[in-house]
Each structure stands twice: as C-alpha cells, then as structure tokens.
C-alpha cells in the first residue's frame, strides 16, 4: 500500500518532509511487551495484604431470597469475611440507568448485590473474601440460601402483554423506554409507492467474550482517604466520577489506573455490581481487594448485546426510487438499564441510522425496549448498527428484486450524492463529509459483479449455492456532548492531551484516551512527532491514569483518533510555537524564519540551528541566559470536543461472496471486501486492522454467536466450548480499501474506524446468503444464521 497517498489533508502540512509520520503504516513498537509476556493486566497485579473475592450468584432468573445462612461458609479455610447486600449498601449508594434527553426512561434503583429479589441468573448475591480466589470459591459453595422461585419473564415479545410477569412491580409493566421518530408523512409515502416490500429480522443475544475477563483491584487507603482502582476499563475518568459519587469519596481522592486491557469492545465501559461490590469490600476491610471474573461469570454478567426483532417496510416508485421507509424495533435489555449509559442507546441508534445512506423523504421508526429476566443488555461494539444496516440493506435488496434492477443500481439511484453534503439521515440526524457513491464504485471495481454473476450461474448448474451481496452504511463516530452529557450523564465528550519537552530533549505525551490494543499509543506518538518535528523514538506516552493524564472521555464510540488525536495535535502546535519563540530569542531572529526538523530548531533559509535538547537545557537549567520575560512554557495542554453536530459519521461499502453447502447448511465465506472512508488515516495499517477485526466480530454475530436461554432463563451455553466464537479456520482473508474524505470538524480530519466492520458484516453476509437462497426462492431472516436455520430454510429439516 502506498500509505503516504492516504494523507491528503492539507491542514496537516506537506507529506514530503522530515518527520512526516501521519499517514504512515508505522510499526506499533510499544506492543513488543505483549510478545515478551510483559503486559500489565489487572490480574497480574499483587498488592501487599491483598485479598480475593468470589461471588455467590443467583442460580435463578427470578427468585426471592427467603433467608441467607453464611455461618458454615465463614468457617472455611482462608475466609476473611462474607458480605451480603445490607453490608455493601452501607458504603455504596444505588444507581439508576436513565438519561434525560431521549424521552422518559424507567429503570429502578440498582445496588451492587441482590437485596431481596434476583432478576437474572448470575446476579451477584453474596461475596466471600478470602486469601485466595480458590478458597473464596470453596466457601461460596457452603453459603446456604433459601429461595422462593418466581416465574421469570424471558421472552421480550410477550413482555408487554397483560399476563406478563411484571419484573419491577413499582413500574406497573415491563416497558423501559419507547421512542418514535417521524419525518415527512410515511403513510402518504407508501400510498404513492408502486412497490412495497417488507421483512422481519431477528437478532439473537450475543456478548463480547473479551479474552481477558473483567477485573478490578480496589485499594482503599484509610490514612489518605484515597481510593486507588486498577481497572481494565475504557473510561478512567468516568469511573473516577462514579466511584467518588457512589462511595462518597472526594473525586480528587479517587485514582483510576487502566494499564493493559485485554479487549473491551464496549463490554468494559459500564458499571457492574460485582466491581462496585469489590470497591465496597476494600472500603469496609481497608485492604486491597481483587476481583477477576472467570469465564462463566463473563458469560452471565458481562453485558449482552443485540436481542432485537425488527420489522421494516420500504415503498418505491417504478424506477426504484425510495419514497417511504418504516421500521418497528423491539429489544429486550434484561432486568435493569445499565448505568450510566443506559440500555436505550442501541435502539436509539437503530431509529437514527436506518436508511442513513439514502434519500428517504418519508420515514417512521418506532422502538420499544422492554425488561426481561436475562443478563442486562447494553452498548457493545457497533451499537445498533448491525440491526439498522441489516434491515435497511435487506429491504433495499428486496426492493431491487421486486422492481427487477441490480442491487448496485438501486443503491446508486437512492444514495445521498457525495456532493450533496451536509445532509441528514432519513431520521433527521445531520450528516457531512460522506462518500457512498465513491465507496460503492470502488467496491464494485474490486468485486467484479458481472463475473460473480456468471460464476454463480455456473455453480448453480453444478448444484453449488453461491451468493454475493453488497451493502452501504454509515458509522457513528466521534460523538459530541449531545450523545450522553446532554442527557445528564457525567461522561466526558471532551478529551485532553498534554505534551512537554523535557530537559533531555525527549517529548512526553499524556492523553485521556486509552489503549485496549487499537494502537492508541502508536498514533499519539505519530501525531506528536509529526506535528512537532521530532523523531518517533523521542516520544513516549502515558495513558490510562487519572492522576497522570488530562481529563477526558476515554476510548469508546470510535473517538480516540478523531477527538483525542485532535487534542494532541492542538497541544503540539502550541508547544511548537512556544519552542520556536524561545529559539527565536536565543537565535536572535524572527519566529517565522524557524522550523523544527529532526529534533532541531532549524533556520528555514539555512544556517546553524539549535537542538531541542540544548534549547530545553537552556530553559530548564540556565534560564539566566534568557532575556527577562521569556515564556519558559515547554509544556502545553489542549482539549477538544465535537461541536455543531451530534456525531462525525463515516461510511463504508462492503461486499461478500460465499457458498452454502446444501447438505450441511454450512456457509463458507469466500471473500469479504470493505471500502471504508474514515477521513485522515493516522496509521493506515492500524485502520485496516480495526476494519478486519471488526468484520470478524460481525461475522461472529452473523453466523455463530448466541447466548442461548431455556424457558426458565438459564443460559445454556455459558462456556467457550459451547458458545461459538470466530476461530481462525472459519475466517476469510478480508480485502480493505479506502476513500478519504476528511472531517471538516477538526484539523486532523480523522473520523473513527473501530466499529464499521462489526456494524456492516452481519448485513452483507445475510444479503449474500439470501442472494444465494433467492436462486431457489428461499430466505433466512434470523441471526446467527446457523447451519440449522439454513437447512430449515431450504426444507432439508
């Protein structure tokens, strides 16, 4: 790949200069620690006097506690104490997972441990504190709880019926939240349509399966009244605020450290009862406490995702122009809305994003979110996108089939043209700087559809079902304060960065965005070195520590590069200006005649320069050599948040070629193409890796992953042997290319790239499978599209 051509952003300066690092696929050198076993994950940490936790978790999806007997368990070897809800509630205030800016949300107070009634299987009930986790687990088995089992409400589709079990009596029914979005007049639109197509899709629950489970070490130091938290989370400052608030500790005396994080994908950005309970235990005992979930706990208590049933209708004229779209989405979120982001956002994204690439003058979307006795559901990588994209692109394909035009033609007819931005989604959300037409044209060249059509016919004659599909989509990235802050949640949409020149000439960067393997550290180095004019090895980076980094949101919603990167770019430009001002004084020249290259302040017209090391030494150690009044600031901080629009959208086009084995129902993905437009790519290789990893996560949801429950709310496959995740042997090589449309909202011009793959892959795979099945007049509408579902669809079973 000619990486340098990807940096087409004139605001960043010439690419043909020394220390031009933005836009280059540089190696992520900091990652070597992981190849040497030197990462620092939460479970690697051992503190003096540290104790370990194990939880007694509800074996039932819905049951009332009649009595708890912990006497026998307390006698077990190594046990230090056992706590139940009333102990923990003394030091931890309950929380409520609602936001104020999206209409009424109703979710009850939630405490770390079950108070009276357990509402999902796996909900924490009691805590054993012991010297080792094994000892704690042994004692958990000796806790004796007398339960009164209650009928669970499992099925989201019956949750609002009159005879449904009401999970929270005080709410009167199981409705958490509902929202309707209307633009134009959808009924008139359908009346004016010559063709109306419909479909209903359902999406099973799946979950993050981060290879490193959730974990926390809480260390309450009573002498300083300080709580130090080592947490494998994504948003240290958010956690700092929440811990301070709920444990009644001064916020400045809560330090949250997130070192290496073994995958997060949105799973690790929420508040979990067991983690809050671990903090409570540290406060009660005055000792460091470790809790690291095991895999069973991960499956039954990490947030689940999706769990949607959506019906949609598309009205078109006889040329294939879309006139109206209507969707109706139902989602089940478990018994509580998660805190502090709520469990409404996935549905909200479905309402906002359906139809987003297209001009659709009349649009109506209804979302209904209900409670059920299953593990809580919340935001996970590509929040809502797989549902919004799949329903839109399934309907568009159906429209093309009904009218008799090609799947690429119908999209081209209906795209918002690349030169018509700024624009709006059919739901009314502002869009800008997108390139659906260019991306689709590039995709079609890569795929060679006419060849695929011919091949498909040849295959079909041989009895092989081959299919291909295409999609277009938008991805929400770089959210503004309108996402959470406007709703009352203390989740920062701003990020900050500090950069300093040190006495040795080294450059240190600290940023509020965090690293979970995306390459945050690497792109921070690239931005700093590029914009300052120093070599990459000069720069080191500190992330993930509320005591050591500027305040900010962290890494989620594909915001690290676009928001955190911009903050650093701005800070670096301030520092550069400060350095050049000092240099101009020392060198007795005008600042405009100077620049920085290769760790030296140089004279643009030639002549002797001064090294940054020498300049820094002068400022730090021999300030007397400088004239009075010289600004000695060799440190600069800057912050950034998105203004004027709710999100910075990106767009992608994807294609998939696959075959279906009619005897086994197995789908074999042969090729998967992605054309992505995320604006400036700070490191194209890392962007590509986000796309590929994201696609594979999307393939998981499309073909394999499902949290299977029985009718009593027991999760049936809560092991990695039973829950199928994508493994190497079933995955295709993925072909990625790009269109570059810089975001006009920042100097750096970067949009996010973390979630498009996961958002689009389920749709393009479903379209490709249905393209294959259309040859024999069959279809599938339910994800994961398992071999069994395919065999049922084609009538084999």
């Amino acid at each position: 790949m000619d990486d340098i051509t990807l940096n087409q952003n004139p605001k960043l300066g010439s690419v043909d200069r020394p220390n031009s690092y933005i836009g280059r696929s540089l190696t992520r050198d900091g990652a070597i620690k992981h190849l040497e076993g030197k990462g620092q994950f939460v479970d690697d940490l051992i503190l003096p006097r540290m104790v370990n936790l194990a939880f007694f978790r509800s074996p039932y999806a819905h049951a009332e506690i009649k009595s708890i007997n912990i006497n026998e368990a307390k006698k077990y070897p190594g046990v230090i104490n056992i706590y139940i809800a009333e102990d923990i509630d003394e030091v931890c205030k309950p929380w409520v997972g609602v936001l104020g800016h999206l209409g009424e949300m109703r979710s009850p107070e939630q405490s770390p441990l079950v108070q009276n009634t357990a509402r999902w299987q796996g909900e924490p009930v009691a805590i054993v504190v012991a010297n080792t986790r094994a000892q704690a687990e042994d004692a958990v088995e000796a806790i004796d709880i007398d339960w009164l089992e209650k009928e669970p409400q499992i099925d989201m589709e019956t949750a609002l019926q009159k005879d449904a079990v009401v999970i929270h009596k005080e709410l009167g029914n199981n409705l958490f939240w509902t929202r309707t979005v209307e633009q134009g007049d959808v009924q008139k639109g359908f009346n004016a349509s010559s063709t109306v197509v419909e479909t209903t899709l359902d999406f099973a629950r799946h979950t993050g399966v981060t290879l490193e489970p959730r974990g926390i070490v809480a260390d309450w130091n009573k002498s300083e009244e300080k709580m130090t938290i080592y947490h494998n989370g994504q948003a240290p400052h958010m956690m700092q605020h929440i811990i301070a608030k709920h444990f009644n500790i001064s916020e400045g005396l809560v330090r949250v450290v997130s070192k290496d994080v073994g995958g997060s994908f949105g799973i690790k950005v929420h508040v979990y009862g067991d983690e809050m309970a671990a903090i409570a235990v540290s406060k009660l005992l005055g000792r460091p406490v470790k809790f690291v979930a095991d895999r069973l706990e991960s499956f039954t208590t990490d947030i689940h995702a999706r769990c949607h049933k959506i019906s949609g209708k598309l009205g078109l004229d006889d040329k294939g122009k879309i006139i109206a779209m209507e969707i109706n989405d139902l989602s089940g979120i478990g018994p509580y809305s998660m805190y502090p982001r709520t469990s409404a956002i996935e549905t909200n994204q479905v309402l906002n994003l359906s139809g987003a690439p297209y001009i659709i003058p009349n649009y109506k979307a209804v979302g209904t979110v209900v409670f059920q006795n299953k593990t809580p559901m919340c935001q996970y990588r590509a929040v809502g996108h797989p549902i919004a994209v799949a329903i839109t692109e399934a309907l568009v394909d159906k429209g093309a089939q009904a009218i008799g035009i090609r799947s690429d033609e119908i999209r081209k007819i209906n795209f918002i043209p690349d030169n018509k931005y700024p624009n709006k989604t059919p739901s009314g959300v502002p869009l800008e700087d997108l390139s659906h037409q260019a991306a689709m044209n590039k995709l079609l060249k890569m795929m060679n559809i006419s060849y695929l059509e011919k091949q498909k016919k040849i295959d079909l004659e041989k009895g092989i079902l081959t299919g291909f599909g295409i999609i277009s989509m938008c991805e929400v990235t770089n959210p503004s304060p309108l996402f959470y802050g406007a709703g009352g949640a203390h989740i920062s949409s701003q990020d900050g960065a500090t950069i300093r020149l040190e006495g040795s000439g080294a450059v240190h960067v600290s940023s509020s965005i965090t690293e979970q393997g995306q390459g945050t550290e690497a792109i921070m180095k690239q931005i700093a070195a590029d914009q300052l004019g120093v070599s990459m090895d000069t720069v080191r980076v500190t992330l993930g520590d509320t005591d050591a980094t500027p305040y900010g949101g962290g890494t989620w919603a594909s915001r690290g590069a676009g928001i955190g990167g911009e903050a650093l770019l701005k800070a670096t430009r301030i520092l550069k200006n400060n350095i050049l001002q000092i240099a101009a004084t020392i060198m007795q020249t005008d600042i405009y005649t100077l620049d920085i290259e290769n760790n030296m302040v140089i004279r643009k017209n030639g002549g002797e320069g001064i090294s940054l090391k020498k300049l820094a030494e002068t400022v730090y150690y021999r300030g007397q050599e400088l004239p009075q009044g010289t600004n000695p600031e060799l440190i600069a901080t800057s912050s950034f948040f998105i203004e004027g629009i709710p999100f910075v959208f990106t767009n992608s086009a994807m294609g998939c070629l696959l075959s279906i084995d009619q005897d086994t129902g197995l789908t074999k993905i042969k090729k998967l193409w992605v054309v992505e437009d995320c604006g400036t790519q700070i490191n194209p290789k890392l962007v590509e890796e986000q796309i590929k990893g994201g696609v594979v996560q999307g393939i998981g949801g499309a073909l394999f992953e499902e949290c299977v429950y029985d009718d009593q709310g027991n999760m049936q496959n809560a092991t990695m042997a039973d829950y199928l995740v994508p493994m190497a042997s079933e995955m295709p090589d993925i072909i990625v290319d790009h269109v570059v449309t810089n975001s006009g909202r920042s100097i750096i011009g970067a949009k996010g790239a973390g979630e498009a793959g996961t958002g689009g892959a389920p749709s393009v795979i479903m379209n490709a499978i249905n393209n294959a099945l259309f040859s024999i007049n069959k279809e599938v509408t339910s994800q994961p599209i398992t071999p069994e579902k395919i065999l049922r669809a084609i009538g084999k079973i």
Binding site: T27, R28, D29, A31, I32, K33, H34, L35, E36, G37, K38, G39, F41, D43, D44, Y76, P77, A134, D138, E141, A142, G208, V209, T210, L211, E212, P213, D260, V261, G262, G263, S264, F265, D294, R295, Q516, G517, Q518, G519, K685, L686, E689, K692, G693, G694, V695, V696, Q697, T719, M720, A721, V725, P726, M727, A728, S729, M731, D733, I734, G757
Partner: protein
C-alpha cells in the same frame, strides 16, 4: 470442599531449576506459573478452549489450565518469558511488523502455537496455518495479520533451514 494436599515435585521453567518445591494438588499449571511471577501466561477460559494459557511442556504446546502443576514433575517448561532464542525473537519482530496482535492477551499462547508450527520444519499454506491456530482465540485481529506473520515466519525459517 475438596481435599487440598501438597505434593513435592521438581521441574525446570525457562532454564531455571525448581528442585523439590511444594505445589497444591488442586492448582493447575497456569495458576502455578502465574504464582511464580510468570504472568505472561494468561488465563482466558480455564477449560482449554481459548488457548491463551498455552505453554511448552517437554517440547509440546500444552494448555496450562488443563494440567495440574503436580503433573509436571521432571518436565522442562517454557513460557512466553523464556521465548528468547533467535528464531522466536525473529518471530516476534515479524508479529510486530504485521501488527499480529492488538490487546496482546492472546499473544503468549499464539506465539507458543507458532513455535510448535515452526518446530515441524515444513511449509504450511494459509489455510493450514489457520487450522493450526484454530485452538487459539483472538477477539481483536480477525486472525488475518496473525496468519500473515506466521506465514512469513515459516518462509523465513524454511529458507534458513534449506540454506543450511
């Protein structure tokens, strides 16, 4: 509660000799190695499904969560911390070059499996590489960059072998 006896065993880890040390009869090897400070061995599922905890025992890649520490009496063990021979140093460079890791939690196990692939001293095509690593779960990369890195490592290694 099950019996928790102690057993005395001897073994070698990363060339360090452990002579007559006491291990708990219930402790699996992964937990035991981590208790020695060898935290580069990661536990992902503790049921042999994810491959993160893979270590080398007597020349073979083994799930350290599936054997008890008491079973390694007399064994020679190598963990990620001990993968410092020239061949594996080169493999690590190749992994970096291809960005064959993101969060790094699977990397120790992935490198252990790679070592076993390279030990076979033969060529594998991409599909075969995918099969070889199909017991190692990676949630981040989508595997392609890992396959790229292993493919290049095999090619480099075989060239060196063929060139004597």
């Amino acid at each position: 509660m099950q019996d928790n006896k102690s057993i005395i065993i001897s073994f070698t880890v990363n060339n360090e000799i452990f002579d007559n040390v006491m291990v708990s009869s219930r402790l699996h090897l992964g937990d035991y190695l981590r208790s020695l400070g060898l935290t580069g061995t990661h536990l992902g599922c503790e049921q042999g499904a994810c491959g993160a905890c893979t270590v080398e025992v007597d020349g073979k890649a083994v799930r350290s969560c599936l054997i008890l520490s008491s079973q390694v009496n007399g064994s020679v063990i190598r963990t990620i911390e001990g993968l410092d021979d020239p061949l594996m140093e080169k493999v690590k460079e190749t992994f970096l070059k291809h960005n064959a890791l993101q969060c790094g939690f699977c990397s120790s196990g992935m490198l252990m499996t790679t070592k076993e692939i390279l030990n076979q001293k033969k060529y594998f095509n991409r599909e075969e590489i995918r099969t070889e690593i199909s017991g190692n779960y990676c949630r981040c990369t989508g595997y392609q960059s890992i396959v790229d890195a292993i493919e290049e490592s095999i090619t480099t290694n075989m060239k060196e072998i063929n060139n004597g």
